[in-house]
Symmetry: C2
Subunit: 288 residues, 2 copies
């Protein structure tokens, strides 16, 4: 009787969940949302480092140019050239973190976090609009436009799972219609065994605001610019929806945080590191 087995599994799971909540002193119904100001600082510090690196050696320009040259384009668009990049100078703010039971994953406990980003991330490009009717290349219109993401807000769901957990059996690689999906093989799930994975997704009522501007030519001469702007905006939105808007979620295997010798570091200016054999130092610390 499969229903009975499922029922047993569910009630076992419920009692496990209750025990976890009890031992961590968390009441899902009454616990106040918690702030994440410390997390905002750590994330901002990391983003700030990435921005420095991206700007220092034009990394961002080169990788964007490369990915745009590889992207499949509709037949009415010429090759796209990057003319402007703004990687922003503000940071996302995470707040209002609370634990809820996930309705999607059998009552698993997950953290819901509000995310807000008010920043301007701009990509400016030049291309040509190709009019192929009534016959190919009837007209060629140079187009220069910039697309900015100016605001994102949404509710992020986060949980940690053991990668041998049955949630993996109850999910599938999202069926994204694209040529590159074919590079995935059956090995993906096997690679995830024995470890912890981060699951995250955004609720479908997210807000993602764009600003699209035409940079050259009179608007009367470039009547198709809104169409291109809409195309770019819809591609970006589709990219996001396809990957991490519920019910879809990202599942990312985390490395083990078990302390290991190979991951151990010490500052070079630490006096004990100047000693070839620091067994004596360690023994002294042992007694403390």
């Amino acid at each position: 009787n499969l229903a009975a087995i499922d029922g047993n599994r569910d009630s076992e799971f419920d009692s496990l969940t209750s025990s976890i909540l009890e031992k961590t002193y968390y009441n899902v119904e009454t616990h106040q949302p918690e702030s994440l100001d410390w997390f905002n600082v750590l994330i901002a510090q990391t983003i700030s480092q990435f921005r420095e690196e991206a700007l220092n050696n034009d990394n961002i320009y080169h990788s964007l140019t490369e990915s745009l040259s590889k992207a499949p384009l509709p037949d009415y668009l010429d090759k796209i050239r990057v003319t402007e990049i703004d990687i922003g100078n503000d940071f996302p703010i995470f707040s209002n973190c609370r634990i809820k039971r996930s309705p999607d994953h059998g009552g698993r406990l997950e953290a819901k976090i509000d995310v807000d980003l008010s920043d301007t991330l701009t990509l400016g490009i030049e291309t040509k609009l190709l009019l192929n009717h009534p016959k190919p290349l009837t007209a060629v219109l140079p187009v220069s436009l910039s697309v900015s993401i100016v605001r994102f807000s949404g509710c992020l769901s986060v949980s940690l799972i053991s990668t041998s957990d049955e949630v993996l059996e109850d999910t599938t690689l999202a069926n994204i219609p694209s040529s590159s999906t074919s590079t995935l093989d059956e090995g993906e799930k096997g690679k995830l065994s024995n470890g912890t994975a981060l699951m995250f997704s955004f609720a479908s009522d997210y807000r993602l605001e764009f600003e699209v501007r035409s940079l050259i030519g009179a608007r009367s001469k470039l009547q198709d610019v809104p169409k291109i702007g809409n195309l770019v905006e819809s591609k970006l939105r589709e990219w996001f929806v396809e990957r991490c808007i519920e019910p879809r979620f990202q599942l990312i295997k985390l490395p083990s945080i078990w302390p290991r010798k190979k991951n151990t570091r010490e500052p070079l200016n630490n006096p004990s590191s100047n000693v070839d054999d620091n067994t004596s130092t360690l023994n002294a610390e042992e007694d403390s």
Copy 2:
């Protein structure tokens, strides 16, 4: 003038840090410590899953037996056999999280978190004590003892860094006297480039309490048991100190959380996943 360059770098770093704190509304001097109750729940859920797995198929017994059989033993100890394993049933409590400037890593911002674990993690073993004086195997004393970790508390420092960051240049693989250190090669640092890494360590005033019990024989016949208990305790303490007690720290490369197709999943019971070509579904969502 190296000092001047260092000075410039420091003041640039300071203004960057100030800007990060300002934009994330965090005042290091006045901000109240934050609770991490949500994190305790997520961590407890993961630990709970690992415990189930460890118990289900004796994984923990087999891996402990294997690692004990490989461990180098002093010549007065016979082979060690595992007789008791208790992997605990409580969870660590993280609390009191606050952002501070790290004195060790050039003012980098790090989170300080109090960690407390009251649980009983027990390893019971059987072995033989070999007395090799005045000549080899003068006496062989069977010994059975159990070592429990009953309490851990300490202050955890956590930060995120870009792996191309200069902190990596200012650190070195900790000089741990052990045969297995020799398996490390120059490639370790190269592997870390281009990504984010988690740095963590514990302050040296941590508390780690053990209980060591002799399980067989009269205490008068086993006068060396305290010595073995001390040996095991000191080995465990040394293991910990060598890896993650300041100034040493663990540096663990994190995977990219950038949403990718290959990491995208959806629940099998999601109606849209039953549609072979769900482009239409995605287009509908795009408009929301």
